[in-house]
Each structure stands twice: as C-alpha cells, then as structure tokens.
C-alpha cells in the first residue's frame, strides 16, 4: 500500500501540489484527472522522487519513501517504474538496449557501463518486448519507431524493472487514438494479470472511466474528487475542470481521445457500460 500524507510542492509562490493525502491499495488501477497545470505530473513525479516534495511524506509499507537517499532511492525508483508522456527513451540506442536500461540497478555499475547484461536479462527483455508486440524491432534504433511503438518500448523498459507500482504520466497524450487504446489496454493487462498497482495521469474523462478502478480529480494542486468512475457526474466533472470562478459546462467529448465508434450517443453509452 502506498500512502501520501500532506504532500506539497511549491514553485516560487505557486503551490503546484497543495497538501495532498490519499492511499492507494496494492493492485489498484488509479486514474488522476484534471486540467493542465492542476499538479498531476508534479504529484506523480514526487512519488518516485524525480521531484522533491516541499512538505509531506510518502509511505510505502513501513518505509518512508520521502526520506530515501542514494542506493535506497534508486531501488525505490526501480520499484515504482515511470512511464512518460514523451517516452524518454534514448533515441540513438537500439530497442533492446533501451529496455535493458530497466535492469541497470540489478547489477554492479561496472557491468552496466560495459553493457554486460546476462543472457537471462536479455531473454527477459525480449519476452517483455514480445508482450508489448515490439520484439520484431529489437535491433532498431528507438528514433526510427512511431510514437505508439516508442511508448510500448518504454512500457517494456518499465516492466523489466520488475516493479510493484507503475506510474504513468499522461502515457497517451502524445499518441493517436488507436495507439492510445493499445497502450491503455497494455496498462490494464499489467494491472489485471500481474496485479501491479497502476497510477495513471489522464486528461480525458472517458479513458479514466473505461480503464480505472478509482479516479482522483485534481484542481489547482488539491484533490477535489476521489471515488468510483461511475460517481463522476456532470457537477463533479465541472468542479474538476472548470476554471476558477467560471460557471460553464464541460463537454466530455472535448476531452475525449477515444476512437469514434458509431454515433455520439452510442459512444457515451459504451463508455458508461465499460465503467
């Protein structure tokens, strides 16, 4: 179980994340939604300590994650793998090497620097690539792949870390609808079949509805909704997405990246049943 207590991050006078507390039980698929700048990314980056919290604590089991340093911190990062909006692969390295980056902390630095990975690790990387259907291009350079393919390689990199938690920071925001659906399907399979906790920043309500067990809505650095996707009604959505003080309705379709299937009415119906 992962527990956040009063997590806060300030940039100058602006509180990007303001006193956020919640718990994530192991094996949950949690979606965090909110407008750009609501603090979703900062929150996720604090969990694996790419960003240092200004205040508050992160607890995992009986460990105070927010106090970890050095090797213990690196092992924590291995344990909660991160998937980025821009994939963050190394474009000049081949796919296999990119995936093997997830194994760096499993072996002595000198072996890593010489790219001396064991045959078992290479096999693990290839099997994992197979799972995301990228094994065929394992020798291609990462910059020769499409966005969706790069994201799948990035997921493979995260998986070979053999993590317990996957943090996905807007994993589908740079992808076309079809690739996006594929990436979300993989994330759901990781959650359902492997029992990994998945915390996923999304800016589309329908994706959160279709894939997540639980949704947290953030506005201006604070949690303003925490509950089942089915509890997200018009009023609550407005509360999450509306600009400060403005009183306008949010059209769910505006934030949608779903594949157009049939009429609008069909689509909404589909999303609701899926949720």
């Amino acid at each position: 179980m992962l527990k956040l207590e009063g997590l806060t991050k300030t940039f100058g006078a602006l509180a990007a994340v303001n006193d956020v507390s919640f718990e994530v039980p192991a094996g949950q698929m949690l979606g965090i939604i909110g407008r750009s700048g609501a603090g979703k990314s900062t929150l996720l980056r604090m969990i694996n300590r790419l960003t240092e919290p200004a205040a508050g604590r992160i607890i995992c089991g009986d460990r105070d994650v927010s106090a970890l340093r050095g090797r213990a911190l690196r092992l924590w990062r291995r344990e909660c793998a991160m998937i980025f909006q821009q994939f963050n692969l190394v474009p000049r390295l081949d796919v296999l090497t990119n995936v093997l980056m997830g194994r760096l902390s499993y072996q002595p630095t000198l072996r890593s620097l010489l790219k001396l990975f064991t045959p078992e690790e290479r096999a693990l990387a290839v099997v994992t690539l197979e799972r995301v259907e990228m094994a065929a291009s394992f020798l291609q350079r990462a910059d020769q792949l499409s966005g969706g393919q790069q994201q799948r390689v990035a997921i493979a990199r995260a998986l070979v870390q053999e993590p317990r938690i996957i943090l996905a920071d807007e994993p589908i925001a740079s992808l076309d609808p079809r690739s996006a659906a594929r990436v979300m399907d993989i994330l759901r399979s990781i959650n359902r079949d492997d029992g990994m906790t998945v915390i996923c920043n999304l800016h589309t309500i329908d994706t959160a509805r279709s894939y997540c067990d639980r949704v947290i809505g953030m506005r201006a650095g604070r949690v303003v909704f925490d509950g089942l996707p089915s509890a997200l009604d018009r009023e609550r959505i407005n509360n999450i997405y509306a600009a400060e003080g403005a009183d306008e309705d949010i059209d769910e379709n505006i934030t949608s990246t779903a594949l157009p299937v049939g009429t609008d009415r069909d689509r909404i119906g589909h999303a609701v049943t899926a949720a």
């Binding site: 980025f84 963050n88 474009p91 997830g102 902390s105 630095t109 890593s112 870390q161």
Partner: protein, 290 residues
C-alpha cells in the same frame, strides 16, 4: 463601444510608442559606447594608417630575402641546396606532430573527465561545478606559450615541456567545449534512465554519451588542427619540435632556412586540415543520415 475601442487603441499606441522610444535610446547608448571603445582601442594600439602603409613594403622585403635562388639549368641542385636539412627538419616536424597528438590524447581524456562535473545539468553539486569550471578556465586562459616557458624552466628544453604546455591548455579548452555540449542535451533521456533506477555513471553512459559523442569527435578533430599550430609555436621558447629550429633560423637570419621550414609546416598543416575535414564531414554526415 467604438469610443471605448478607440480609447483602448490610443492607450495601446501610447504604450507601444513609449517602448519603442526606450529601445531606440538603448540602441543609441550602446552604439556610442562601442564607438568610444573602438577609437580608444585604436589609440592604445597605435593604429595609424600612415604607419600601416609605410610598413607594408617591408613585409615584402623580408619575404623576398627568405626566398631561395632557383635557376632552371640547376633546378635540382638549387632545391637540394635550399633543403639541405630536409631529413633533420622532417624529424623535427614529426616531433611537433607527436607533441600535438600526445597533447590531444591527454587533453581529450582530461577534458572528457572534467566536462561532466563541469556541466551545470550533470554536476549535481554547485561547489563541484564551480571548482571544475574555474579549473577549466584557468587551464585555457593562460596562453600555451606561457605554460611552455614555465615548463622549459622546470623540465628543461625539449618536447616534454611542449607536450605538457599543450596538454594543460587542451584539458581546459576541451573540458569547456565538451561541457557545453553536455549542457545542451535533451534532459528527458536523462530522466528516463534516472527513473529506471540508474545511477550517475549509468546516466552519463546511456543518456549523455549517445547524444554528445558526435559533437565530442568533431571538437577533438578541430582541436588537432589547433594543436599542431600551437606545437610549432611553443617551439619558439625551447619546447621542442620544428618551432625551435624555426626560431633559430629567424634569429640568426638564415633567411632561406626560414622559407624552407615555413613551407614544410604549411604543407603539413594543409594535409592535416584536409584529412580532418574529411573525417569530420564523415562523422556529421553519417549522423545526419541516421
């Protein structure tokens, strides 16, 4: 409504004119300062057109004196007379090349190691960054010839002093160049490795090096050309190689030796330049293709 709009436009125009005025005044002030500096510099450096014109013919005069006498009917004999020291000079030229190459090796390895702690985005420690930056600065701002003088006094006349002088300078210069390449990398790749649990060395190896190595290689080749010129120059203060011989020829007024040696140096540098350019284009070209 329209009067409100025109009032807004008038306010905007007023503000715009005020900003433009300020920009123009700034530009004029800068131009005045630059002009003053220019004339000040001309005064201090004694730059006067009449002196320049008076001196010009003397350049030709000196060059004329160094030119050998070569006649058609005794062409080979004259060449052999001019280049009586050819093989000795060739050896010395080789010394100079070796000084340059060794210093390049030392400078690129040293600069490579120095460049990572001297990069703002990679150093991770402000104190380490500051110290490494200043070290590189000191190493490269003191001219090579000054280092050469110091090392000639310390280690005696010869190539060792030249090699050391060039090495120290190259470590500083290349450390700075490499560090600047490091600071221009795409940080997302760094973050990708860090998020996967990689440590500092692994980040350098897998996120930084793939991005900067092509730059490092072109900088290194460029430095080789520079090093060869510098290796010839430091010879003037006794730091070995062809420069030492050239200095002797100049100070003892062995006019024809001067032209013979200079010609050899120029040809060598031309050849090296051509080879380096080919290599550099190969590296850049290959990278662009991929």
């Amino acid at each position: 409504m329209s009067s409100q709009a025109s009032a807004a436009i008038a306010r905007f125009e007023e503000e715009f004119a005020r900003l433009r005025r300020r920009q123009r005044i700034q530009l004029l002030v800068f131009a005045a300062i630059l002009l003053a500096l220019f004339f000040g510099a001309a005064e201090v450096s004694n730059f006067r057109l009449d002196r320049l014109l008076a001196g010009l013919p003397r350049i030709g005069e000196y060059i004329g004196k160094t030119l050998p006498e070569i006649r058609i009917n005794s062409f080979f004999g004259d060449i052999a007379y001019w280049y009586y020291g050819f093989f000795r000079w060739l050896g010395l030229l080789l010394d100079t090349l070796l000084i340059a190459l060794m210093a390049l090796l030392f400078g690129s390895v040293g600069g490579f190691l120095l460049s990572f702690p001297a990069s703002r985005n990679l150093s991770g420690n402000v104190v380490v960054y500051f110290i490494c930056r200043r070290l590189a600065e000191i190493a490269r701002t003191v001219p090579e010839i000054v280092y050469a003088l110091i090392f000639v006094v310390a280690f005696g006349i010869g190539p060792l002093a030249g090699f050391l002088a060039l090495s120290v300078h190259a470590v500083g210069a290349m450390g700075k160049l490499y560090a600047e390449a490091n600071e221009n990398i795409d940080e997302r790749q760094l973050e990708g490795i860090r998020a996967a649990g990689g440590n500092w060395f692994e980040m350098i190896r897998f996120a930084v090096l793939p991005q900067v190595l092509p730059n490092f290689m072109t900088y290194t080749l460029w430095r080789l050309e520079l090093n060869i010129r510098s290796a010839a120059i430091v010879g003037f203060v006794g730091a070995g190689g062809i420069g030492q011989e050239l200095y002797t020829a100049i100070s003892f007024n062995y006019y024809e030796d001067v032209s013979a040696i200079v010609l050899m140096v120029v040809l060598t540098i031309m050849i090296i330049d051509l080879v380096c350019e080919r290599l550099r284009h190969k590296i850049i070209g290959k990278d662009n293709l991929q």
